[in-house]
Symmetry: C2
């Protein structure tokens, strides 16, 4: 009996080791494929060079969706279709800021409007500039000082944060809520220092939240913010002229793109991966988030080419409009709810194509634990953490349907150098880092499908 137990134990151990070896081999096949093929890289090159400035409502946003649709069809996905939905949108044709010094020539700054800034009159808005470092400062100065002025938010990015997303979180209130606050105190326009840790001439746009009173709002480059600040020290009553040519679009018809490989055992359980195809109007959107789209789309290609027998349906979603109104993610979750689809897990990639570092999970402790246990499989490929944390903007609305959410995380040091600016170009993409991302995401989905997360 004792010998039998030992024998059984040995069989179990051996089986377990063999299973582990099999996984190691399968995962190596996934990465061999990801690193030797370059489909994701070439898809991203197309998006950046042939369909830049993909803000929702733009022609290029639809061109990009069409391109990815053809890609999914060509790789033989089981179904490829568009989810049509209606959303308000916004467009910006141009913007400018001029410093009008009391003596000397006007100086034009590197500027992009924030979305969805209202337009100024054709002749722009000219007013005295008041520099502040925070929303609190606007409150403290009060209407007496702020009213009729152009408020210039100029708090610098704090470089001491190690993870740059924390640095962003620390600085972004000036952009996201600054115009609303300034409007409340009677400002006529807002200029914001670009939310970036770079010192250069690129303005970084982004979303700003308005309540009823909308005033024009623009970002200027960090170098120009320093210039404007110096000018205000020299001449505290310096005026500036802000010009924005933008337009609200009450309703546009647009699409999420959906492609899937049917599950062989549980086709009704859907594992969804995706990124957002839209970018701001001023950028090729290479890292944000063309990269997320092509890496998550590559999961279907890898599964097809390696003939992986997925139990559950693997679905790639190319979301529209993460940047402006987050309407694509909301429309998608609504469809899931209305159709009563069962989503097993949702993964989003929206942190650029830098070297792989982590997965974060927004789910029950048990599910986090199950997924974190996959770490030994992914550590050789650069993933050093799998832990509770952020899910994603586009998949966020799935949370209330009880879907476990997961984000693919890359090394964050360079992300905000380019984020939301014309500097987010294809040449900033490293082939290997992008293709490793494809491998990491495909492997994670493979493990989730095979071993489950419950």
């Amino acid at each position: 009996m004792k010998h039998l137990t030992i024998a059984l134990f040995l069989v179990l151990i051996t089986t377990s080791i063999r299973a582990q070896d099999e996984e190691t081999t399968q995962i190596k096949l996934i990465f061999d494929n990801a690193l030797t093929r370059q489909e994701a890289y070439h898809n991203l090159e197309y998006l950046c060079t042939e369909a830049p400035d993909r803000l929702v409502g733009s022609e290029n946003s639809l061109k990009a969706i069409e391109y990815m649709k053809q890609y999914f069809n060509a790789l033989g996905a089981d179904s490829v279709y568009l989810q049509e939905f209606h959303t308000p949108a916004w467009k910006c044709d141009s913007s400018s800021v001029w410093i009008i010094p009391q003596s000397g020539k006007p100086v034009m700054l590197h500027t992009d409007a924030l979305g969805p800034s209202p337009a100024t009159p054709m002749e722009g808005i000219m007013a005295e500039v008041i520099e502040v470092k925070s929303l609190d400062e606007v409150e403290k100065l009060g209407k007496e000082v702020i009213s009729g002025k152009i408020v210039f938010y100029n708090r610098k990015w704090n470089p001491a944060f190690i993870r740059t997303f924390e640095g962003y979180g620390d600085a972004v209130d000036q952009r996201a809520r600054g115009p609303e606050k300034a409007a409340e105190y009677g400002a006529v326009a807002v200029i914001v220092r670009s939310v970036t840790n770079s010192t250069d001439h690129f303005p970084h746009t982004g979303n700003t939240h308005y309540s009823n009173n909308k005033i024009p709002a623009v970002a200027i480059s960090t170098l120009d913010a320093d210039l404007l600040s110096e000018q205000l020290q020299k001449e505290p009553k310096t005026t500036a002229k802000v010009y924005v040519d933008s337009e609200d679009i009450p309703e546009t018809i647009t699409y999420n793109l959906i492609a899937e490989i049917k599950g062989k055992e549980k086709p009704e359980e859907i594992i969804v991966v995706g990124g957002h195809i839209d970018s701001w109007f001023n950028t090729p959107g290479a890292h944000d988030d063309g990269a997320g789209v092509v890496m998550t789309s590559d999961v279907l290609r890898i599964f097809k080419e390696l003939n992986i027998n997925n139990k559950r349906t693997i679905r790639a979603v190319v979301y529209m409009d993460e940047e402006l109104y987050q309407s694509g993610g909301k429309a998608y979750a609504l469809m899931v709810k209305n159709n009563g689809e069962k989503h097993y897990l949702a993964l989003e990639a929206d942190a650029g194509a830098f070297t792989p570092r982590m997965f974060t999970i927004n789910a029950s402790e048990e599910t986090v634990g199950r997924i974190a246990a996959f770490l030994p499989y992914l550590k050789p490929y650069g993933i050093d953490e799998i832990k509770a944390g952020w899910g994603g903007v586009d998949i966020g609305p799935l949370k209330e349907l009880g879907v476990p959410l997961m984000a693919y995380g890359t090394d964050s040091q360079r992300y905000f150098d380019m984020h939301h600016s014309a500097n987010d170009t294809f040449d900033k993409i490293n082939l290997r880092e992008l293709q490793l991302g494809c491998g990491c995401i495909a492997t994670m989905i493979y493990l989730v499908d095979k071993y489950g997360v419950e």
Copy 2:
């Protein structure tokens, strides 16, 4: 008694927690300093733009040493001095490769000589080209086929390796030993596909080992290697012309640069950090290894500015000639031996200024264990592994004196895109990644000094 034991236990725990909190605070101060100051970044800009092409024996190699000497003096190091030594050197003024097709015009390729390739005659060497994929293939083809020919090593980099240093190790024999092997079988010159995972027009040079029979050897860009290979498929008897204008320098006088902050308790025990100031003749040497020099030099600045009371002497060494004959590291170890200096530990940074990932240690198991225990302090700053492994080329000769060796390791994905080529420029350096490296190295040295490694 029981209560006393518990009380003592609680005191110990509390003390230990307080010590840990103190360390966490001290280490945060180190990183705050590293990330808010930009001295290392500006030093590297100088080296790349004012003193590129710093091969041993060149004027710029001495200009670079002089610059760093002034830097150490300015920051108030306790002693700053040059270690003079004599070494053979080599220089290359130009090189070219032409494909001479049987029909059509000659085509010039993107070429750099390997070091220390001998010169060709002024008119170059013209001969039939034979393409091979390995040194073994040269052996198999034998003298009959190889003799009188130009051997073209064209085995591609295998992208499936995850750590690119392994990909490099897999491909580099063609460059390091290929010319010697081809010469043995009577070849008249060697052309090597650049050892890189990039597909571009940059030739990547590097060291090649010669025995007695030295034949000219050059690297061509990967795109040109593909072009030459295609040409050989079309016309198997294609000839090429190889031209190298180079010169052996029998002896040059050169220097390692040494700067130190004296230890307050054990000044006779020296912890040494360093990188190499020389670069290949064709490159600004930003990542290889200007970055290593400025990051390790920054340790002294950080210690001075934060008034860290180092027990042991912290010494920065700027090594000359890692690339060609590794004479600086040898000369340094010889001096250490002759002076009977006690080296407590040596750390080298020669893996570029990419995002921090690891430290590797070449020392006893016990020492590796002691240092690996520092991981929790460095994990928040991007270091995910501290383990046994590589030390470094320049500190290598200290091994026989029993010195524990350590290497600072960065994310390797992009390193070989630029390595040993004109593409290794300052604009490839990310400010934050470089300055995080300064913080990681300074922290490691701080912990080694404070807690010891024995």
